[in-house]
Each structure stands twice: as C-alpha cells, then as structure tokens.
C-alpha cells in the first residue's frame, strides 16, 4: 500500500499536474461544446432555444402529454401577445401597414416570393429581418415561438427513421417511437453531450500518456530497473506500478468527468437530467425510456471504463520507450489510434441504427471486449515481469 501511494506520488508530478490543469482549461475553451453554450448552432437556431427549453421543463415538467397540449398553446399565445405589443410600438412597421403578427408574416412571405425588390421593399425587408432575427428582445421571442412550433410539428411522428425503415419496425419498436407524449429535452443538449464525450475521451487519453510516459521513462532513465529486476520483491513492484497507473487514470477520468458534469449546473443544463432520453426531433435512441441523466451516467461510465483499461495499454507502451522523445512519438501514434477507436465506439453509442443492420449493442460489447483484452495484456505483462531476467533490460 505504501509503495502504491509512493508510485502515485511519482506519477502526479506537480509540474505535470500544473501543465495538465492549464491544458484542460485551454482544451475546454477550444473544443468543448459545453463551454460554447449557449451560442446557437448546436442543433439549435439561436442562443435562446435551449434556455427557453429549460424554462419549459421548469414550468411543465420533463415531458408534455398530448392531453396537456393546451399548455404549450397557451404559452405560444402569451409570446404572440408580447410580440404584437412590440409591433404596435414599432413605427417603421406600422408605417408600412404592419400592425399585427399575421400581417408581419404575410408581408414577409410576400417579399420573399417576389423576385426583385425596389429600394423601399429592400429596406422594409431589412427592417423585418432586424425585428424578427437580430433585435435582442423581439428576436428572442420569435426563436421561442419557433421552438414551440418545432415541438408541435414533430408530435407523434417517427422522426429520425426513414419511411423504408418504418416498415421494418416491429410492434414493440413502433409503439416505442409513437408515444402519447413528447420529451421536452432539446436535441441540442444531446448534441452537446455526444460531441463533448468524443473530446473528453481524447483529453483523458492525452493526460494518461503525459503522466504515465513521463513516469515510466523517468524510472528507466534513473537506472532503477535493473535493481527492481534483481530481487523478487523488486519484480513485484512492476505490478504495483501497473496498478498505480490504472488508479492514476481512474482518478484523472473521474475528476474530468465529474467537473464536466458539474458544469451543467452553471450552464443551466442540469434541469434536463430528468427528461426522457430523446427529443422531439430525434426519437431513434434505444434507451429512450431512461432519463437523460441516467443516460449521461451510463455513457460516462463506458468512457471511464475504456480509458481506465486503456491505461494498461498506455503503461505497456510507456515501458517500451527508452527516452522522452520515443515516449512522445509512441504517445502520438498510439494515442491517435486510441482516440479514433474510442470516438467510433462511443459516438452515439446507443443510437438505434436501423439502416446499418448492426445490433445496437455492438458498440458497448466491443468496449467490453477491449476491456477484457486489456486485462489479458495486463496479466501477460505481470507474469513476464515476475519472470524477468536482468539481462532482458
């Protein structure tokens, strides 16, 4: 136990830890969608969609039954009334004969369908765009209306599944996909999570290589390997080092995933954890009966498992490196391979792949197979180290 703790101290060199903290902050800034939220473009039309969806969940709960549809309609009416007040106070629109929302839509369509516009019409079109899209107050209301329209539009439709594939659905799946209620989870949140888990895996893999390669190469360069090999107790230290590496990656992964999950609170996304794991625009997830929070947990556990068992592979690679430059080169090559593997395995892992004919369980099964393979590699490594000869150094 003492040796394990000392090995962990060697792994978590303070200089590397500081570098990793800085790197994590920069990585989040550059690649993670959660940092960019709310910005629009995350399967959303604007930065108002997801916060508005959060308000709906707060008001109506995580889902809305079809016989409660009047609540959404009332909400829509409220927003339309607010818009009409703004239109009434807008002189430019009023002077062009627009006094109600209906007139605004009609004028907008008229201008859109007209081939070429004169100067006045171009100016009016610009003013309408400003009112509906760019004005912070009214633009927000229009985007909220659009979000409500989207929920209404997809009510009861098997969205995300082609007509050809609908015929393939058996009764159980057809029933699953045509529910009598709509989950208020917006697709943008699913998108943010899926994209971020891809980059989270990359971040943990990079940190694993940085820590474990430095640790093993330092051991090699300090010349203690022949000492380890020359006694029975010394040879046992190799297995302690392997466990220390696994525990170090477990700590790093747990911290990274924990911090990521905690970020959902200040970003206002934690409210969606209670929603069912599907959105009105996308209901092709297999595990749509569970909550989004549970889905996040299962997904993160899969990523954690892959990274923790991947630490065995990282340790074996680091043991091969004779100097830091070799270690960096091995890290780049092997790390890239690991990243592409985990990216393909975890991206939309539980999405119901009707069109590929693949079992939906294939990706989690492959992760389990990889973990079992890593355990075998660890066993082989430990046995080899036990029987190591000094001349094999």
């Amino acid at each position: 136990m003492i040796i394990l703790l000392k090995e962990l101290r060697k792994i978590f060199d303070i200089r590397l830890v500081i570098g990793i903290i800085v790197f994590t902050v920069l990585f989040y800034n550059m690649f993670m969608e959660i940092t960019r939220h709310p910005c629009g473009g995350q399967c959303t039309d604007s930065s108002y969609d997801i916060p508005f969806a959060a308000k709906l969940v707060d008001e109506f709960g995580p889902k809305i039954e079809f016989d409660e549809w009047y609540k959404l309609e009332n909400k829509e009416k409220q927003i339309e009334e607010k818009i009409e007040k703004e239109i009434a106070g807008n002189e430019i629109l009023n002077s062009n004969g627009i006094t109600t929302l209906k007139e605004l839509y009609e004028k907008e369509n008229e201008l859109y369908e007209k081939g070429s516009l004169n100067e006045n019409e171009k100016l009016l079109e610009k003013k309408i765009d400003e009112f509906t899209l760019y004005n912070e107050k009214t633009g927000k209301m229009f985007f909220e209306l659009q979000h409500l329209e989207n929920i209404k539009e997809f009510r009861g439709i098997i969205y995300g599944v082609s007509k050809k594939d609908v015929a393939k659905l058996d009764n159980r799946d057809a029933k699953r996909m045509t529910k009598q209620y709509v989950s208020l989870l917006p697709e943008g949140v699913l998108y943010i999570f899926n994209e971020d888990m891809k980059y989270m895996s990359a971040l943990i893999i990079i940190i694993s290589f940085v820590l474990i390669c430095a640790y093993q190469i330092r051991e090699r360069l300090s010349g203690v390997m022949p000492l380890y090999v020359s006694t029975k107790v010394g040879r046992k230290i190799f297995s302690v080092q392997l466990f220390a590496s696994i525990i170090a990656v477990l700590i790093v992964s747990a911290l990274q995933l924990g911090i990521y999950t905690l970020m959902y609170y200040p970003k206002g996304l934690a409210i969606f954890w209670s929603c069912e794991n599907w959105s009105c625009a996308r209901n092709s997830f297999l595990f749509d009966g569970i909550s989004f929070g549970t889905y996040m947990f299962i997904f993160q556990m899969a990523v954690l498992m892959f990274c923790v068992f991947g630490a065995i592979f990282v340790y074996c690679i680091a043991r091969l490196a004779e100097n830091y430059i070799w270690g960096i080169i091995f890290s780049i090559i092997c790390g890239t391979g690991m990243f592409f593997t985990v990216k393909n395995l975890t991206y939309e892992m539980f999405d119901y792949e009707l069109n590929t004919g693949m079992s939906v369980y294939i990706k989690p099964i492959m992760i389990v197979i990889i973990c079992v393979a890593m355990c075998l590699i660890a066993k082989i490594r430990i046995n080899r180290d036990k029987a190591r000869d000094i001349y094999q150094m």
């Binding site: 570098g19 790197f23 920069l26 390669c213 360069l221 100097n323 830091y324 070799w326 960096i328 080169i329």
Partner: protein, 380 residues
C-alpha cells in the same frame, strides 16, 4: 560536429516511424477527397477536358462512350466558367468588407477603420488591374465543386504545418537532450568545446528537422499531384474566376495582393512553411535551454501554442489587433487558406505573412539567445 549530430538525428528510427505515420494520415486525407472510388479518374478526366487533351478519335465503343462523356463534361465546364465569368463585373471590395464586418460582428473604430478601408481600396485597385490584364481568365478545376485550393492550401497545409512543427520540435529536442539522457552531459560540459556543443546540436537539430519536414511535404505533395494533375495548369492565376470558392457564405474570387500564378503561389507557400518551421525549431531551442528537459519543453510548447490559439480569437477592433496578430506565433496557421491574398481584415495588406515571420524570428531569436545565456551562466 554538426554533421555528426545530424547523422545521430537521422539515425533516430522512431522519428522516421512518426514521419511514416503522418504520411499515411496525409495519404488517407488526399485519398478520401480525391482518389476514393471514381474520384481519381474523374479528376484526370476533368484535367483532360480543361487542357483539351481528350481523345478525338474513337476506335471502339468504349472510346465512343468516352468521347460522348468528354463532350458532356466539356460543355458543363464551359457553362460553369460562363456562370462565374461575371464575378469580377460587379465585384466591390468595400461591399465585401461591409458584409464581412456584419457577419463577424467585427467593428473597427476611428483611424483603424480608415486604415482597413484604405487597404480594401488598394484591393479594389487590384481587382481593376486583374480585369484590365485579363488575369481572371484561365483554366482550372472548378473551385466550388472540387475545392482544390481550399484543400491544398487550407486543410492539407494546416495538417502539414502541425506535423512538420512536431517533427522539428522532436528533432531539436532529441539532439539537445541526448547527452543528458545518456548521462554523458557532465563529461561533455567539462570542456570549453563541450559547452559549445549545444549550439552545434541546435543547428544540427534544425537542419534534421528541415530535411525530414521537406521529405514529408515532398511525398505528400507528390501523392496529391498524382491524384490531382496540375500539368499545363501551373500558369493559371490564383485570381482566376474558375478557381473561386465560397467562403463566409459569399462566392468571390481569390484577390491576391500581386500577380500570382499557381506555380508562384505554391513555391511561396512552401517557402513560408519552411521559414515557419525554422522559427518553431528556434523556439524549441530556446525553451530547451530554459528547461533543460525535452519532455517538459515539448509539453510547454504545446501548451503555449494552444494558449496562443485560444487568445487569437479575442479582438479589440483597433490597431492593437494588427500587433496582436503579428506577434502571435499561430497567426500563420490560422490564416492558412488565405496567404498572399485578401483574408483577415486586420491583415489586409501585402506581405503580411513575411511581416509575421520577421516578428516570429525576432521573438524566437530573443528566446533562444536568452535561453542560451541562462544555459551558459549555469555551467560556469
């Protein structure tokens, strides 16, 4: 001594393995874009249509089909050229500037605004010059369909910049840290000549990095040009209408600062890339002299470059943006697809790439000199 160190650098087999790995990566990228399925034969066919070297007589039915297809593609190409032939007619660079400002939300103020508008007026004069000298004519792969410029000078070049930078860093750090890793450092440092060996190692590391990088670039570009033939197209101006690609939801031609054919543009790009990686090498030298550890030096450099990439997005809408971009070492990477042409609003002046390089060399030179002074003091 430099030659001995260079030999040592070339004997590092894992660096060659890394180069091979990057090469496979680049080949896959080119294959995915221009060689997968029938894409390669489509590119050769397109090339023969553009250069007018298609077959004119049919010996069998297959050749008759080919001739029919050739005529069809030729007609489509002529229609494409005609459709884009009016791009220069109403091209107004001031309007482009206004649209860019609106889309990016970048609002220059005061004298800085006048400065940018002055640059764009110069670009408008360049547009007039292009129209006058008929530089906009010329055959090339249709830009909006094949996006050859965007791929070759954008995506592929950016990948190569990162890869060659890594190779340069590792070449330099391997040689500089060699003595420390092999525990011969104390012996080497015991003599005056030995203490100066670090300079020889630095020079040798940079030379090895340049040669390895050039090898990677050469093989990558050879594979690219095998799949995307450029024969008889090298004299086409980069400002040609047919080469225009959509960017920022606008389709307008590439407005180069000077008369640049594809050949000149390619050579200039390669020169800037080589100078850039030399600067990266100098940076590695400087940082190693400070840390005296190849691992921390590499990680520190990666973090610094990532930090620079993060802060490049922050702007102040005044002259400080120009200074900010000139002193940032990753500016050349970020402006990757738009060297020697109208691109970033703050860098809308000719030869901005060379100004960036000059400042970069100055910074890295100061860093290396400071690092070496610290290193020398430590030994005494």
């Amino acid at each position: 001594m430099i030659l001995i160190e260079m030999k040592r650098g070339f004997k590092n087999i894992f660096l060659w393995i890394l180069i091979a790995f990057f090469l496979v990566f680049n080949f896959l990228s080119i294959f995915e874009n221009y060689a997968e399925n029938d894409k390669k034969s489509e590119m050769s066919f397109m090339h023969s249509v553009m250069t007018g070297t298609g077959s004119s007589s049919a010996k069998d039915n297959q050749q008759k089909d080919e001739i029919a297809l050739y005529s069809e593609v030729e007609k489509a190409y002529i229609d494409y050229k005609e459709q884009f032939s009016t791009l220069y007619d109403n091209l107004d660079m001031m309007k482009i500037l206004k649209i860019k400002e609106a889309k990016t939300g970048y609002k220059p103020q005061g004298e800085y605004k006048n400065y940018i508008e002055k640059n764009y007026k110069k670009l408008q004069k360049r547009v007039e010059q292009i129209k006058k000298t008929n530089e906009y004519e010329g055959n090339f792969y249709p830009g909006n369909i094949y996006k050859t410029h965007g791929f070759l000078y954008g995506k592929l070049k950016r990948s190569l910049m990162i890869q060659t930078a890594i190779i340069m860093m590792l070449s330099v750090l391997y040689l500089l840290d060699y003595e420390r890793i092999n525990k011969t450092r104390d012996i080497v440092l015991a003599s005056k000549r030995g203490r100066k060996v670090a300079i020889d190692k630095a020079v040798a590391g940079i030379m090895v990095g340049i040669i390895d990088s050039m090898l990677l670039m050469t093989l990558t570009y050879v594979y690219y040009f095998i799949n995307v033939p450029y024969k008889n197209l090298w004299n086409t101006a980069v400002s040609a209408v047919v080469m225009a690609e959509s960017r920022m939801q606008m389709t307008y031609p590439f407005i180069t600062f000077g008369d640049m054919t594809e050949r000149k543009y390619f050579i200039a790009t390669v020169i800037v890339m080589i100078l850039f990686i030399i600067a990266v090498g100098l940076c590695s030298v400087g940082i190693w002299f400070i840390f005296e550890n190849s691992y921390f030096s590499f990680i520190f450099q990666c973090i610094i470059y990532l930090l620079m990439m993060t802060i490049i997005t922050y702007s102040w809408c005044n002259f400080f943006d120009v200074i900010r971009l000139l002193i940032n070492p990753v500016t050349l990477y970020c402006t990757g697809g738009g060297w020697f042409m109208e691109n970033d609003m703050a860098l809308s002046f000719a030869n901005n790439e060379f100004y960036c390089l000059m400042v970069l060399f100055f910074e890295m030179g100061v860093l290396s000199a400071t690092g070496y002074c610290k290193y020398r003091r430590r030994d005494k």
